[in-house]
């Protein structure tokens, strides 16, 4: 699989189909990989593929430094590919400006990432080329897809409030969660605006609550569950629990799953008289 990836990357660079390949390279330890940006065909040996390729590389589609490298081919797992669909739908990239190099995946992380336990996209749903043997994607029921919320939803309202207060207390406001998020693409985040100051920048109870809740709300009906926010949090806050809960509500209310079909209309920015809320009518 690694050889096939390298060969494909080399081909794309040699033929000038793309200027750069966003992929995975060896990391600081054998249990870690890191993003690499290959611009020369002779460097494709830096690419690797293994169970530690947890990153969602589509976040580099938003960063000015990596955009400058020219047209990218981007290596995506099934979950990451959903981001590309959302980014296209939200007019952040044009379909023809990115070469999607899909890889089939049986799960990443050690221990296995939570998202992988309920994976229904072992084979990406969008790609220009696919590396790895095609795996039939499982159809999972609504309940199966949101099973990780079962324990959380059993908590009382008071219990949930106390749980999040305790979690947010740990937040150090490093903003790794939003900087890593491929769908947090605003050039200037609301937390950086101070006239008016919508969100207290201080890492105290009020500031941390307003930041974390606002971040999650901005992803409602958009988050594709790559879990990157949670992976990178140095304070070990289970941020994806919030995202997942909001995704569940969005799906329940709008019958919409972000990133699954490029023809679907977006939940949050599409008017539909059939929506079940009165205010849209």
């Amino acid at each position: 699989m690694i050889e096939a990836l390298r060969k494909k990357a080399e081909e794309l660079l040699r033929s000038n189909t793309v200027n750069v390949v966003f992929g995975y390279g060896e990391g600081s330890t054998p249990e870690r990989t890191r993003p690499v940006f290959i611009t020369k065909p002779e460097d494709v040996n830096k690419l690797t593929w293994n169970q530690y390729c947890v990153y969602n590389l589509t976040t580099y589609l938003k960063r000015q430094e990596t955009r400058k490298l020219g047209k990218p081919a981007i290596i995506v797992k099934g979950c990451d590919a959903k981001t590309v669909i959302v980014l296209i739908k939200e007019s952040q990239i044009k379909r023809e400006d990115v070469y999607i190099l899909g890889v089939t995946c049986q799960g990443v992380g050690e221990p296995l990432a939570v998202k992988c336990k309920a994976c229904d996209v072992h084979t990406p749903r969008i790609y220009d080329d696919l590396v790895g043997e095609k795996v039939e994607n499982k159809e999972l029921s609504f309940d199966e897809r949101y099973a990780e919320l079962d324990e959380y939803e059993k908590m009382s309202e008071k219990g949930k409030w106390e749980f999040w207060q305790k979690q947010f207390e740990k937040c150090i406001k490093c903003y790794a969660c939003s900087n890593i998020c491929p769908l947090c693409f605003c050039d200037r985040c609301i937390v950086e605006k101070n006239q008016p100051q919508w969100i207290d920048p201080s890492a105290h109870a009020r500031g941390n609550l307003s930041w974390n809740v606002t971040r999650a709300y901005h992803l409602a009906g958009r988050c594709i569950n790559c879990e990157e926010c949670q992976r990178v949090c140095p304070a070990d806050i289970p941020l994806n629990l919030l995202n997942k809960k909001l995704a569940k509500e969005a799906e329940k209310n709008f019958n919409y799953r972000p990133g699954y079909n490029i023809d679907d209309e977006l939940a949050m920015s599409t008017y539909n008289a059939k929506d079940n809320q009165d205010f849209v009518k």
């Binding site: 990391g27 600081s28 330890t29 870690r32 990989t33 890191r34 993003p35 690499v36 940006f37 990153y55 976040t59 580099y60 960063r63 000015q64 430094e65 990596t66 150090i172 406001k173 490093c174 903003y175 790794a176 939003s178 900087n179 890593i180 950086e192 101070n194 100051q197 207290d200 920048p201 201080s202 890492a203 105290h204 500031g207 990157e228 992976r231 990178v232 140095p234 304070a235 070990d236």
Partner: protein
């Protein structure tokens, strides 16, 4: 002064400290993290880790703190300053790298003005360090002039010997008087010298070469190349025991408010953004260069100290696996190969 203490008596030490009104802070487990935090007894203390996830700095320079409150009435402004922020405490079981960050940071917090929050807390807190008996691939204290059993910044140093015994050495007068105050807790040192269990931390680069290369290479492709994967968050600076940048904000209504000091970091795009919209460090490469230059050139020139203790936390938490010792190895190698300059 040298004493001895067995692990089973750590609880006695902590309880005795608390009995005399000391706040006790030590490494303890919190889900997947090991954090320096307040402990009520020795049973809570974690010893089986390389280093705590949080650094020692937050006990002197917290992530957020009110520096004053104000109230405006007509032409009159009333200011209220916080008191009692320096609590008599013992930090027990911090690592030698963390302890060493304190004298390094003393220099900047006592520079053109004396930061009373830092200074008073430094006086109120006694540092009892435990030497590292293990390390990991991210540790590089020996490359920046320290050691897993370095004494600088500690008031007392514990070093593991056979069994669960620790040699207890006082380093400063403050440490000496602390151990004297609780003399009953400790045993006498063994008559024969015993093997100390201290980690072997591999030296990764020659720090002198780093400085001389930085002097010549403000402009170099390595800055952009290395930082391409950087996502521009502040995780590295916030977990760093020596990063000390902060921002001041007013949290206020029309007539009253709090002036608050918050951690800030040079890796954020907004950090150097001018009101005009111009940003003198407009790319991540420039921001990454700043982090390295500040630690290994500017601070050295200004205060004669390296602003890095080799704890490796920045590399452990980096969402994109940016590894600072790898950067420094690249620089030291470049320095050994003259002619590579851009």
């Amino acid at each position: 002064m040298e004493k001895r203490l067995n692990k089973k008596d750590f609880d006695n030490f902590i309880t005795s400290l608390r009995g005399k009104g000391y706040k006790t802070i030590a490494p303890k487990k919190d889900n997947n993290l090991i954090v320096l935090d307040e402990v009520q007894g020795g049973g809570e203390i974690s010893l089986d880790h390389v280093i705590t996830n949080n650094s020692i700095k937050e006990f002197f320079f917290p992530k957020t703190e009110k520096v004053l409150s104000y109230r405006m009435e007509k032409n009159n402004v009333q200011i209220e300053e916080p008191e009692d922020f320096a609590v008599k405490s013992v930090i027990f079981g911090s690592r030698p790298c963390d302890a060493f960050s304190l004298p390094v940071m003393d220099k900047v917090f006592n520079w053109d003005c004396s930061d009373k929050f830092w200074v008073q807390r430094r006086e109120a807190v006694t540092i009892v360090t435990i030497a590292c008996d293990k390390c990991d691939t991210y540790c590089f204290c020996t490359s920046v002039g320290l050691a897993p059993d370095a004494k600088g910044g500690s008031d007392v140093l514990f070093t593991k010997i056979s069994g669960d015994d620790y040699v207890v050495e006082t380093v400063t007068e403050k440490g000496e008087s602390l151990i004297k105050e609780f003399e009953g807790v400790f045993s006498d040192p063994l008559s024969e010298a015993s093997d100390r269990q201290v980690a072997t931390v591999e030296k990764k680069f020659e720090i002198e070469k780093v400085k001389s290369w930085l002097d010549e290479n403000f402009v170099h492709t390595v800055w952009t190349d290395f930082s391409l994967k950087c996502i521009g968050c502040g995780a590295c600076t916030f977990v760093c025991p020596t990063c000390h940048c902060f921002d001041i904000v007013d949290e206020c209504t029309m007539t009253k408010g709090d002036r608050v000091k918050n951690w800030d970091g040079c890796q954020f795009k907004m950090f150097t953004m001018h009101t005009s919209g111009h940003n003198p460090r407009s790319t991540q490469g420039e921001r990454w260069r700043q982090r390295i230059m500040h630690k290994f050139k500017y601070y050295v020139e200004k205060f004669d100290s390296i602003l890095c203790v080799g704890c490796g936390r920045c590399s452990r938490v980096c969402p994109a696996d940016m590894n600072i010792s790898e950067m420094l190895e690249i620089i030291a190698t470049e320095a050994s190969q003259p002619g590579n300059k851009e």
